[in-house]
């Protein structure tokens, strides 16, 4: 993982940082930004779309199927957002239900069986959070997708096209090489969601976007993204063909490198890449104790050796509950 400064006590993001981060979020969400199905015909030939998870239904928010990349077959999987009202509804604004992730898993298993490299395109605000998704096991679908990708015996190249939104992105985003378009963003939760939890107001989404350091540059610095693909002109929306050319070149170069390594080495490197994610300190094992004196009974008991007192404390005495049960902080 890349070296970074160990920040002792952070300050709120500056207005410039907020402005810069928000500009990227807007570019990543630009209505004319190329979607998976805009790029697929420009990068691959002969794409054959597979439908359905063989268990419940077909989810149009994820597309998957084999295609040829410079004449060689690969498996393509990507989130798909719409471009107008009708297609937004069809594609559910690019937010998959569990059957979408299960379709992706089906495509990955097929690729694994036949030895096809997998190329995935990330562009989602996040997995759909509605009741139907919960009923059909949204969390399980994401978890099993992630788990499957960690063990696929074929190279995986991930490209973040637009929004890399949380678990819905990661579900098809575990790769040997993770690339991102210059104006793509990647985050643990949408800036609106983060703002509504930590700032208790969705209006602080811009601030949250800056605080989460979600731009492609930040992600390279954090080691989540390996390399950035430059966008043409003012952004990918201005020239789909040039964008596709750059993405294709990056995928080809990554695949050339990956297909040269043995399967065992590939899997070991992928595992090590994931295991190295995140920063922590390995300090001495001393325990932090709450600043609290032992009870009078215990102190007297220890001095007088009362029966039952000078014993090893129970764990619940070391880490007791507070009286109240009301921690309201949430994660994503």
């Amino acid at each position: 993982m890349s070296e970074g400064p160990l920040i002792v006590d952070a300050a709120p993001p500056s207005p410039e940082a907020i402005e810069a981060a928000w500009r990227r979020v807007q570019l990543a969400r630009h209505p004319q930004r190329p979607r998976t199905l805009d790029l697929v015909p420009l990068i691959f030939t002969g794409f054959f779309e597979l439908h359905g998870d063989r268990a419940f239904g077909d989810d149009a928010a994820i597309v998957a199927g084999p295609a040829l990349l410079d004449g060689r077959p690969v498996m393509v999987i990507g989130h798909q957002k719409g471009t107008d009202t009708e297609s937004h509804i069809l594609r559910n604004f690019g937010s998959p239900h569990p059957e979408g992730f299960r379709k992706a898993q089906r495509a990955m298993r097929l690729a694994d069986k036949l030895g096809l490299p997998v190329v995935t395109f990330l562009d989602t605000a996040g997995a759909f959070p509605g009741p139907a998704a919960e009923e059909r096991g949204q969390a399980e679908a994401i978890a099993s997708s992630v788990k499957l990708m960690t063990g696929l015996q074929i190279p995986i190249v991930v490209v973040v096209l637009g929004e890399g939104g949380s678990g819905g992105a990661l579900a098809i985003g575990v790769g040997d090489v993770v690339l991102a378009l210059e104006n793509a963003v990647y985050s643990v939760i949408s800036p609106e969601g983060c703002a509504s939890i930590l700032w208790r107001s969705r209006d602080e989404a811009r601030t949250a976007a800056a605080a989460m350091r979600m731009t492609a540059d930040d992600q390279v610095e954090l080691g989540v993204v390996d390399a950035i693909i430059a966008e043409p002109g003012e952004g990918a929306h201005t020239d789909h063909e040039a964008t596709a050319g750059a993405v294709k070149a990056a995928i080809l170069s990554a695949l050339r490198r990956l297909t040269a390594s043995e399967t065992d080495a590939l899997l070991a490197t992928r595992y090590a890449r994931l295991r190295g994610m995140g920063a922590y300190l390995e300090t001495g094992a001393g325990r932090i104790r709450p600043p609290e004196a032992p009870s009078l009974r215990r102190r007297i008991g220890r001095i007088l050796h009362l029966p039952g007192v000078p014993r090893r404390p129970r764990w619940s005495e070391i880490w007791p509950s507070d009286g109240n049960d009301d921690e309201s902080e949430r994660g994503a």
Partner: protein
């Protein structure tokens, strides 16, 4: 700042009593400690600290904590109304923990397990790099020693203050589970109130067996995020343990009082596969043809073993009793920034 007069009678500390959110009864905190934090009136399951969980589930004096020194780093320089370092420090002082998970090796009715336990009081049990690292080490140790892994979750999800590095913990905790599958080492997930977001969307949904405490809140999207996004109110009872059981995502709802014995039963029923050096023979599979015969032989007694000429030593239970040469385990080196 409240004004205190030196001569006013001190009121009982406000944390001596807790109001039960289910039946509104006022419960004396000392009583909650005695009842494993179950409401004496209605049986409501209050959240437990990690210490109480250890005492509840593990044999006395069997728990050895591992990796107690791991401590979070503010890699992003995150600041909302307070800095992340400040929040960490406040949680550490409040709970006496370094982060939201404690893991170690212990015994459940004599059976060795690698166990990780969440404490929701530490920043909502959120999963950042320390939680992810501890759980990954817990799973890797289970894999190396061929003992079952158990994780008791109580978490709001990924820790937003660590950004995508927190999101990556979903993959970090999940990757070792794929190796455990290949090696034949079981993992039991115990979901307690609440288990949501990125924790549910990773290892917690991937237990070989998944247990849940009654009425625990379990769901992918927090109700607030869900209703903001979807624009509709969520139905009643949605995202409870019972809802997940009805939809096929947990195996059983186990009241707290039965959790330890239930885990113990499961651990006996689902031991780690006996051997993993590629030499596994049918005789060692309990349900292979010869295994079945030897099972019969055991029941009938030694006489049969002489007549059919096979060894009828009891099957190895596989609980960590054999040295193994399983999956290479890359330890992340100096990972901190």
């Amino acid at each position: 700042m409240p004004i205190k007069f030196p001569f006013s009678r001190r009121a009982a500390p406000s944390d001596a009593w807790t109001k039960c959110p289910a039946c509104d009864a006022q419960v004396f905190n000392k009583q909650l400690e005695r009842t494993s934090r179950l409401c004496p009136e209605c049986g409501h399951h209050f959240r437990m600290s990690v210490g109480e969980r250890i005492d509840l589930l593990l044999d006395p004096n069997s728990f050895e904590e591992r990796d107690a020194g791991l401590e979070a780093v503010d890699r992003l320089g995150f600041h909302d109304d307070r800095s992340y370092s400040h929040r960490l420090e406040a949680s550490q002082v409040k709970t006496g923990l370094r982060d939201a998970v404690v893991w170690g090796i212990g015994r459940i009715e004599g059976q060795r397990v690698a166990i990780g336990i969440f404490d929701f009081r530490f920043m909502g049990g959120s999963m950042g790099a320390v939680v992810g690292e501890k759980l990954a080490r817990c799973f890797e140790t289970a894999l190396d020693e061929r003992i079952p892994a158990v994780v008791v979750s109580a978490s709001g999800g990924a820790r937003m203050q660590e950004g995508t590095l927190a999101l990556m913990q979903l993959a970090k905790t999940t990757a070792p589970l794929a190796r455990m599958d290949a090696a034949g080492v079981p993992f039991i997930a115990v979901l307690t109130d609440p288990t949501t977001g990125g924790v549910l969307a990773s290892f917690a949904s991937l237990g070989d067996v998944i247990l849940a405490e009654p009425k625990a809140l379990i769901g992918f999207a927090g109700a607030r995020v869900a209703s903001d996004t979807v624009g509709e109110e969520m139905p009643e009872g949605f995202q409870t343990a019972e809802f997940l059981l009805a939809h096929g995502f947990v195996d059983a709802i186990v009241p707290r009082g039965e959790l330890r014995t239930t885990l113990s039963r499961l651990l006996r029923l689902l031991p780690a596969a006996p051997i993993d050096d590629g030499l596994l023979t049918d005789a060692e599979r309990a349900w292979g043809p010869i295994g079945a015969l030897s099972g019969l032989a055991e029941r009938v007694g030694g006489a049969v073993s002489e007549t059919i000429g096979i060894d009828v030593d009891a099957l190895d239970s596989g609980n960590g009793s054999r040295p193994t040469g399983t999956a290479a385990k890359p330890r992340p080196g100096e990972d901190q920034s």
